[in-house]
Amino acid sequence: MSAAEIDLRFTLNGREVQARVPSHTLLLDLVRERFGLKGSKRSCDMEVCGACTMMLDGNLVSSCTTLAADADGRAVVTVEGLTPAAGLSRVQEALVLHGAVQCGFCTPGFVVAITHLLQQHPNADDEQIRRHLRGNLCRCTGYVKILAAVRSLAGTEPGLQPLAHERT
């Protein structure tokens, strides 16, 4: 049995969803165009930059080069699923406070990858941080502030507190 179209059922950020798609549909396009979640970005389109990073059953994948069919029966998490209804997650807040966001194009991918890193290694050392994040590229920040934000979450560097006017 083979088919040019396929029926998918999976959870997207914890919600049960269904879709019928052509077999050659990519996960990134399904999530952005069909489900309207535009946080995940297409940039390199070749598994190198990480702007399209999603979690698939708890593993990080490049959704630009993953078949939508591979999500069938599995759990997909995007940056939207990691963002609280109000305010920011602790990863997002640390990135903001450390000035680790400039144009912001890479940020959704970093948020997913950093969240995954801290799930696996809550007290990640520098070696673990670098190995986990070396596949996420940022053209603006020079990485120093992103590293500082992650170190603050891993407890290897003091965290920053929001200034009075920044509190939400």
């Binding site: 049995m1 083979s2 088919a3 040019a4 396929i6 052509p22 077999s23 050659h24 549909t25 990519l26 396009d29 389109d45 070749m46 598994e47 190198v48 990480g50 990073t53 698939l56 593993n59 990080l60 994948v61 490049s62 080069t65 993953t66 078949l67 069919a69 591979d70 990858a113 995954h116 190995r131 986990h132 070396r134 596949g135 996420n136």
Partner: protein, 291 residues
Amino acid sequence: MLPAPFQLARPTELAEAIRLAAATEDSHFHAGGTELLMAMKLRLLRPELLVDLKRIAGLDRIAWAEDASVVIGALATHRQVEQDVIVRRHLPALAALCANVANVRVRSAGTLGGNLCFAEPHADPPTLLAALGARLRLVGPDGEREVAADAFILGEFETAREPAEIMTHITVPVPRGPVAYRRFRHGERPAVNAAVAWTMAADGVTIERARIVVGALGSRPQDVGLLERLLAGRRAGEAAEAVAQGLTDAVGEIEAMDDRHGGADYKRHLAGVLITRNIAEAAAQINGATP
């Protein structure tokens, strides 16, 4: 970029997957898709049919076998290999290799079997698996066969596998001596890599047999036979000196290509450096083990 449309099959039985692939002229197996989908997005490949292998139970299993080998399912991802307790215990060099392939997303989706079957020359596992004497199990319409890892990759993107044959698992004998693996890269993939595996004699200090393999710099992994012969029968403590004497000639014989990872001469030089460091590491493993 989108791949061109294709039919997708997701069989749950090995025999069904082989039958489907054999019945369609232009079909490809789909494992992690990290190489296949890139080639399809670039329209280098336009298969009529993709046969997904991920629903066939057991193909990603990693197990210990009675004959002192580790059997790794071809569908095991780099990340599974990296984190597996059996691999970490008995084949630590392979666990470390898989932990440093590509980036974390490619490691999570890409499989060991997919890496071998694609045969992109700038790869890590083929070099180490050849040095370790791994055997690859292929199952196809005409039955099963086993191919030695160092005879599997024939050239760039070319292997001994027939189109409808599925690689089911990779059997790696547990080494009887030191193993060292190193690679050099400035991009995502290795420019040059080198593996050393010694089988030690019963006295624990004499090298019975040495395997020295270099990869990524040429069209396929290559034995450095000249150095292997120099080391056979020698004591571990004399290995560094013996290799230093033969190195220039040995490295000169390596087939290397000029590409964006560097010029051929530069890569031959790097191969020599990696071999020298591996030999020092292997000798240190012996020294550390014997009082």
